[in-house]
Amino acid sequence: MSTKLNVLEHVMVPDHEIMSEEEVGTLFSTYKITSEHLPKIYHDEPAVKIIGAKVGDVVRTIRTSHTAGIAESYRLVVKRPKK
């Protein structure tokens, strides 16, 4: 029996969290964009699976940055296309 690996606990993996609909709304209006302009992340990425995000959700990634200290990025969960 092995315990399931939680990639989010690894030092190299930045924090991921699902954004609420409200947050996504403000995000879209501040940048004047629609979801198709967001960077993408596949639904079967380990971090996405762990936080339980579904296709269509927007994931906030908070990572440490050399230049800014802490940087946020927002990515739209999409289905991995078949090869």
Binding site: K32, I33, E36, H37, P39, H66, T67, A68, A71, E72
Partner: protein, 879 residues
């Protein structure tokens, strides 16, 4: 912000023989081009139906003249089908995945479903060669399949295993074509081929299109002979062989001859398409030059895509050799009169400049000397007609000029031009300068702008472009000007600054304390922009004296405060600051150099702390002025004392040679001692290393230390009075290592970081005993360049030197290609007004540029705010 049109899909198909015939205007049967009168043969390769290139003739197809007729295709009916080289991979794949008997896919419907999925739930995959197991039995007709061999360029054969023996059976293009013909449409769809536009049998040619003459024009040589294009030559070959083939076929020639001719036809058609296919000797011209056929026209750097379509040639540009002129400002560029007379700027005539323009027109197309006012080459009327100005019509044309006309005047001093040196690797490779028309035949530039262009004067050439519109000139002046590009976005520091002699000169001027008379100070400062001298620092016997620091301070802006350590700083354990023996502690208070030496750290390109500080505090223009003053002052100061380097500057005295000899002998004995310890098996290996590796490391260390010691001995003897030492200490050029190698000892030569081990069995050269591990047997050079190397040392030096050359050669090509790929990937990204990095489609790449939104050019060596510099300039002390 969606793009106006999106490309949904692109369809790739093959041309069918039917299409070849429909687009053809003429069947070509004769290999000849022109008859004795120089008239094209009907149905020959230059048939008038294919378009015309000779002026005066009309195209028989479209009845247009040579300049208008676009040309039309013809065709050749091939005696037997041949393979198209470009599709051999596809043919191979199709032969391997289909049955040799019934041409069906070698998979049962269930197996197909496994890969591509069912109709409702398709995986999006297509079948590939790997999905089919080798040499199986056809699931449809039960035929045993054979292995298909493919030999480059165009030979296919079947391998039959008969009683352990392998028999190869060649497949003719006709065989292959008949197999491909039988493949059902449905099977092709599973393979990712759309049979409506690309039936596989069309990859085997039965008809060959003949391109219009317009794309293979013949040229008439000076002696009146016609010289045909390479493509025409190749087509002649094809038609000849095709004709012979047909005749032999009709005469019922033996199979052997037919096969030979078939192969020959295949060779000609192959090289017609691509003359660089592997496994096929290229077709050559009579002179031995390989022919440039269809594929060669498209491929590579000078091909249709990279050479003709993306390659750009421009007007209003000039190119010549560059040479230095330290008397120019960094924002200027010296332009030969001959070029200034040829290049022009259009000026629109208006009531307030019409007299000036009329005068220019009167001056005519050539300005005899620098002192004459500039002239003009053309006058353009409001109806866009150009009138060329020439001797004789100057006054008539000048009198005609009215508002609304345009005069193309010559370049003159102060015009803004773009200056560029290839390779243009960063934005500073193109900067705009102000014109200074000069005598001579080269472009002149201030040596301080060499670093951004990476230029030197060993024969470099540079390009010049003249902006032709007001908008272009405004952009050039505001965005591209030299003073706007002093800071490099690569590292957020100045890339323009003093180099070589500027640094030596300013070091000699400011090091320690010196006193100058009025005469000397005026000599130093007369070419700078300053207007008055500061009051003298002292007066001895009625003679006014100024310090060297005062002389430098006059070019600094008032109110500048800085504290930093110079390049010559030895990084002592405890800094004694202003009491520094080497005068390396620089203090500038209120625009006055108090202590310290100005050198590379203060004014050099890439470092330039003072330049950096001036830009922050006083702006780009002031910094450019400072660089101008500084270069001029330092050139004067280096000329005041004179500066040279010769072979005797590397001379040491007997004592030093004795000491160096002792150090080296000591090191050699030390090495021998360690070798003995190792050979006795007494050597204690270092953790994680074998005894051999440990010994090698120890030897390298001992010898390295010995070389450094010789350098110290030499450096101590030579001192700052020596030009090489001065250049090394000030950071102008070279290092103490270079000096060590010249005067002390060249040291250990290495290949891949190790002593030289290669050569003969157990030894590097026959001069040494086998198994000798001593220092001189493995590339330690104990002589100096001055003293001269002995034969073995010279050889080892060549080995070590070669490695360095190979490394740089490999590195430049690799990093060049790396950068090309990166630029191709990133070229369309831009920072939007909200600070996001977006593609042209508005898709976001980064939510804040660089995650902190900092413009690296406006940063201080990467930091958004130069906290240290600001605090230091307020506190007036180092923090």
């Amino acid at each position: 912000m969606p793009s106006p049109k999106r490309i949904g899909k692109i369809e790739f198909g093959l041309l069918s023989p039917k299409e070849f015939r429909t687009m053809s205007v003429r069947k070509i049967i004769w290999a000849d081009t022109y008859d004795d009168d120089g008239f094209p043969y009907p149905q020959g390769l230059m048939d008038l139906n294919l378009g015309v290139i000779d002026p005066g003739l009309r195209c028989k197809t479209c009845d247009q003249k040579a300049s208008e007729c676009p040309g039309h295709f013809g065709h050749i009916e091939l005696a037997k089908p041949v393979i198209h080289v470009g599709y051999t991979r596809m043919i191979r794949k199709l032969l391997r995945v289909t049955c040799k008997n019934c041409s069906r896919l070698l998979l049962s419907p269930e197996e197909i479903e496994k890969v591509i999925g069912t109709e409702d739930d398709s995986t999006g995959d297509v079948l590939s060669e790997k999905d089919i197991k080798k040499e199986r039995v056809c699931p449809h007709c039960g035929e045993q399949q054979l292995k298909i061999n493919f030999e480059k360029p165009t030979t296919f054969s079947e391998v039959q295993v008969d009683e352990g023996k392998k028999i190869e059976h060649k497949l003719t293009p006709a065989d292959i074509r008949s197999r491909l013909e039988k493949i059902p449409d449905e099977d092709l769809r599973h393979l990712g081929i759309n049979p409506d536009v690309a039936r596989p049998e069309w990859t085997i040619l039965t008809v060959l299109p003949v391109p219009p003459v317009t794309m293979r024009p013949s040229i008439i040589l000076e002696n009146g002979q016609r010289s045909e294009d390479d493509l025409t030559h190749k087509l002649v070959d094809i038609i000849r062989i095709n004709q012979r083939f047909k005749e032999n076929q009709d005469a019922g020639a033996p199979q052997l001859i037919i096969e030979d001719l078939w192969e020959l036809l295949q060779y000609h058609v192959t090289t017609y398409m691509d003359n660089e296919v592997a496994g096929c000797p290229p077709a050559r011209h009579r002179s031995g030059r390989p022919l440039k056929t269809l594929s060669q026209r498209l491929k590579g750097k000078d091909g249709r895509f990279r050479g003709s379509l993306s390659g750009k040639r421009v007007n209003f540009s000039a190119r010549t050799v560059i040479s230095p002129d330290p008397n120019l400002s960094v924002v200027q560029v010296g332009i030969p009169l001959a070029i200034a007379n040829e290049m022009s700027i259009p000026v629109h005539a208006a009531p307030n400049n019409i007299d000036e323009l009329k005068a220019m027109a009167r001056n005519g197309p050539s300005r005899p000397t620098l002192n004459h006012p500039c002239g003009a080459n053309y006058v353009i009327r409001p109806d866009k007609r150009r009138l060329r100005l020439a001797e004789g019509n100057l006054d008539t044309v000048a009198d005609m000029i009215e508002p609304g006309w345009t005069v193309e005047r010559h370049l003159r001093d102060g015009d803004i031009v773009l200056f560029n040196r290839q390779p243009s690797l960063h934005r500073m490779s193109i900067m705009s300068h102000r014109v200074k028309v000069m005598d001579g035949k080269t472009f002149r530039l201030n040596p301080a702008v060499c670093p951004p262009y990476n230029a030197d004067f060993d024969g470099d050439e540079m390009n010049l472009h003249i902006p032709q519109t007001q908008e272009a000139r405004a952009e050039a002046a505001i965005l591209v000007a030299v003073q706007e590009n002093i800071l490099s976005p690569r590292f957020g520091g100045p890339i323009i600054g003093g180099i070589h002699d500027h640094i030596s000169g300013v070091f000699m001027l400011t090091n320690q304390v010196r006193w100058f008379t009025r005469e000397d100070v005026l000599y130093l400062l007369k070419s700078t922009s300053i207007e008055h001298l500061p009051p003298p620092a002292k007066e001895v016997d009625g003679v006014q004296m100024w310090t060297n620091k005062q002389a430098f301070s006059v070019i600094l802006p008032d109110g500048l405060n800085m504290v930093f350590k110079a390049s010559s700083c030895a990084n002592c354990d405890t800094c004694i600051k202003e009491r520094c023996e080497r005068d390396a502690y620089v203090q500038i208070f209120n625009g006055e150099l108090i202590t310290g030496t100005i050198d590379k750290k203060a004014i050099g390109a890439f470092d330039g702390q003072i330049v950096q500080r001036i830009i922050r505090q006083y702006g780009m223009k002031r910094a450019a002025d400072f660089i101008d003053d500084m270069t001029k002052l330092s050139i004067r100061s280096i000329m005041l004392d004179g500066f040279s380097f010769g072979i005797d500057d590397e001379d040491l005295s007997k004592t030093e040679y004795g000491q160096i000899g002792e150090v080296l002998d000591g090191a050699v004995t030390d090495v021998q001692k360690r070798i003995r310890i190792y050979e006795d098996g007494q050597l204690e290996p270092m953790p994680g290393r074998t005894p051999e590796e440990t010994l090698e490391m120890q030897i390298m260390q001992v010898l390295g230390k010995a070389r450094d010691r010789t350098g110290e001995i030499a450096g101590r003897h030579l001192g700052l009075g020596n030009s090489a030492v001065l250049m090394a200490v000030s950071g102008a050029r070279g290092s103490m290592l270079n000096l060590t190698q010249m005067a002390g000892c060249v040291g250990q030569q290495s290949v891949r970081g190790e002593r030289i081990m290669r050569g003969y069995d157990d030894r590097t050269l026959p001069h040494f005993k086998k198994g000798d591990r001593g220092s001189d047997a493995h590339g330690f050079i104990k002589h100096s360049y001055k003293g001269g190397l002995n034969a073995t040392e010279f050889f080892f030096h060549a080995i070590g030197g070669r490695e360095g050359l190979v490394d740089t050669a490999v590195r430049t090509s690799q990093s060049g290609y790396l950068q090309r790929r990166m630029i191709n990937a990133l070229q369309d990204l831009k920072v939007a007004y909200d600070g996001t990095v977006r593609t042209t489609g508005g898709r976001i790449i980064q939510f804040t540029y660089g995650e902190d939104g900092t413009d690296p050019m406006k940063s201080c060596f990467g930091d958004p705010v130069d906290v240290k510099g600001i605090v230091e300039s307020v506190l007036k002390e180092e923090v």
